[in-house]
């Protein structure tokens, strides 16, 4: 089967870890997200150039869980990340083994995120607005 690779949709998407979660902001859409631990680990794997299958294999080993179910979870979660334009198709180039090979004692949880889209409401209260860092004047990307 053809391996699928992804990359973070930078520079529109920025992220920062906090505790075991990841805060992700989409500067284009105005939406922002908190990713749970599994989703944060997957995000790191994608950043490292892992395919879905590679990432799932590592995660299944990491948690001692069933690889086929992890692949199914990752496939549907990555579709959601794509829908939110947080990631895009990329070229695989695994640079490192992103996860510790030591088995975790805690249970595997499906990757998930919480989405917040309240910025538009706030921006209407205090005028501010679409921006771009490309230059000026220029047309916003559609």
């Amino acid at each position: 089967m053809m391996e699928k690779y992804y990359e973070i949709n930078a520079p529109a998407v920025i992220s920062e870890p906090m505790e075991e979660e990841l805060v992700v902001i989409n500067l284009d859409s105005g939406c922002y997200y908190s990713l749970n631990k599994t989703a944060t680990l997957l995000w790191n794997q994608l950043e490292q150039g892992c395919s879905i299958n590679q990432a799932a294999r590592q995660m299944a080993l990491f948690y001692g869980s069933d690889e086929a179910s992890v692949i199914a979870d990752f496939t549907s979660f990555i579709e959601r990340l794509m829908e939110e334009q947080l990631i895009k198709a990329g070229n695989g180039d695994p640079k490192d083994w992103p996860l510790s090979k030591e088995r975790q004692s805690e249970p595997y949880l499906k990757p998930s995120f919480e989405k917040y889209s309240d910025m538009q409401e706030m921006l209407l209260l205090d005028p501010i607005h679409e921006v771009s860092e490309v230059g000026w004047p220029h047309q916003e990307k559609k």
Binding site: P11, E16, M18, E21, I25, Y116, D126, H129, G135
Partner: protein, 347 residues
């Protein structure tokens, strides 16, 4: 070549000529984030409109030593608009889009809503602020003036301008964050009237040079007109009127100068909610909630920096406890609960 880059020399010449042509040039010096910032205004109306929010930070120092120098003028000084202005206004008019330019040391932003153009050269430490008519300044610019210049200044000095209120008690500072309508401004105003220290109502600066600290930028308080029902004094303090603007505002430097402080150690982030409970409660939340709340609104309101701002914020907030503060209904009870919270055992 980008259109703005080709116009930049003309724009800088325009500002240079405007300085020379300002017969009534006025200079005020601030101590902002511990460093001197000199602001020169081309006219009295600009000084009156744009300095009151900074008045508590004024310092009498040698302006030549200022690390950041800002020149503020309108189109009346040279009786003509900034070079390229008509194109700029026309280009941004569609959809009222903000226009930005970021390249190297030069950053510029035009806000079609306020018609304010801000420009900074971070290498030389110079900023410029322009609008066609000083008399047309919107209320929110008078309450929190030169926000983009302040944002860039913070970036130049390794600090972060955040969208939050900040108060303190017994030398412990707390950020009040959350969306509009969650009681942030009401709580900040209530605190200022109840003997708390006040650092800001809408925008404050975070610094991590010597441990997490919050710094004051503006002494203004913006409030929804409905807030007058809860704090009747706000209505009498307001410098504007409900029919004129969608929010009221006033300057604490004029009404409660004793409450203003320039900096406090940051001890907690409080995400306020209005629950109409009998008692105000504080419930610990994951740190992620604090970062989410502060980062998104700060980054979208001070656009252009994105990733570095998010990282700086995360570094500052990593060890700061975050609480959901569910507000009660009685003002005295809220003030006492905040006092008890801030004087309680440090985590």
């Amino acid at each position: 070549m980008n259109k703005f880059e080709s116009l930049l020399p003309e724009i800088l010449t325009y500002f240079g000529n405007a300085v020379l042509a300002s017969a009534d040039l006025r200079q005020r010096t601030l101590s902002l984030c511990g460093k001197q910032v000199c602001i020169a205004y081309s006219s009295e109306i600009l000084e009156t409109s744009l300095f009151k929010a900074f008045e508590h930070l004024e310092t009498i120092e040698n302006t030549a030593a200022s690390a950041f120098r800002i020149f503020v003028c309108d189109g009346n000084v040279l009786n003509r608009d900034l070079p390229g202005w008509a194109q700029l206004v026309e280009f941004s008019a569609k959809d009222k889009k903000i226009l930005m330019y970021n390249a190297g040391d030069i950053h510029a932003l035009y806000n079609p809503d306020s018609k304010v153009f801000s420009l900074v050269d971070t290498a030389s430490g110079h900023g410029w602020y322009y609008l066609p008519q000083a008399a047309d300044l919107p209320y929110y610019e008078k309450a929190a003036p030169m926000r983009m210049l302040l944002h860039w200044w913070c970036e130049m000095t390794g600090r972060v301008l955040v969208h939050a209120a900040a108060i303190g008690w017994a030398s412990r500072g707390a950020l009040l964050a959350g969306r509009g309508g969650t009681g942030k401004s009401t709580t900040a105003m209530l605190a200022a009237q109840s003997g708390f220290s006040f650092l800001g109502d809408d925008y404050v600066v975070l610094d991590n040079a010597h441990g997490p600290a919050v710094l004051s930028a503006y002494n203004s308080v913006k409030f929804r007109w409905e807030m007058v029902e809860r704090l009747p004094s706000t209505g009498t303090l307001s410098v504007n009127h409900p029919k004129a603007d969608d929010k009221g505002y006033f300057y604490l430097h004029e009404t409660h100068p004793e409450s203003l402080v320039r900096t406090l150690p940051l001890k907690a982030v409080l995400l306020s909610t209005i629950e109409r409970l009998d008692k105000t409660t504080f419930v610990r939340l994951p740190s992620t909630k604090g970062l989410l709340s502060l980062a998104a609104s700060s980054i979208f309101q001070m656009p252009g920096s994105g990733g570095p701002t998010l990282k700086k914020l995360a570094d500052i907030l990593r060890d700061i406890p975050v609480y959901q503060m569910s507000l009660g209904t009685d003002n005295e009870e809220i003030a006492q609960a905040l006092r008890d919270f801030l004087t309680g055992p440090a985590e």
